[in-house]
Symmetry: C2
Subunit: 71 residues, 2 copies
Amino acid sequence: MEITIQERLGQRVKALRVKKGWSQEKLAELTGFHRTYIGMVERGERNISLQNIFSLSKQFGLSLEELFKDL
Amino acid sequence: MEITIQERLGQRVKALRVKKGWSQEKLAELTGFHRTYIGMVERGERNISLQNIFSLSKQFGLSLEELFKDL
């Protein structure tokens, strides 16, 4: 079964969050998103918008190009 | 005035479309989006979703990393 682009980005977000040592609650606080939204994004359950992708990339200190690297 | 991420992606999409020699109608046909939606995306008026960004990148034969390069 193929992994969708939503799932691939979700896994990337989770890996970056864990690397930062942040809980979902912490990332939610930093971005202003709800914690349950973060969980849904990480599980690939949300078709996240450009603005929200951009907000996440900024929190991780990455450009969008870097966020999507090899995805 | 700062150019928003929506406008930057819109300009990228337009530049890639023009480089391919495609009209907005042609890109609409290829992606299944409405022509007016393509226009709005190119003008940075839409907070486009990951799935739709991915559809555009596939039509241009680019990865998401390439689509967002230096954006």
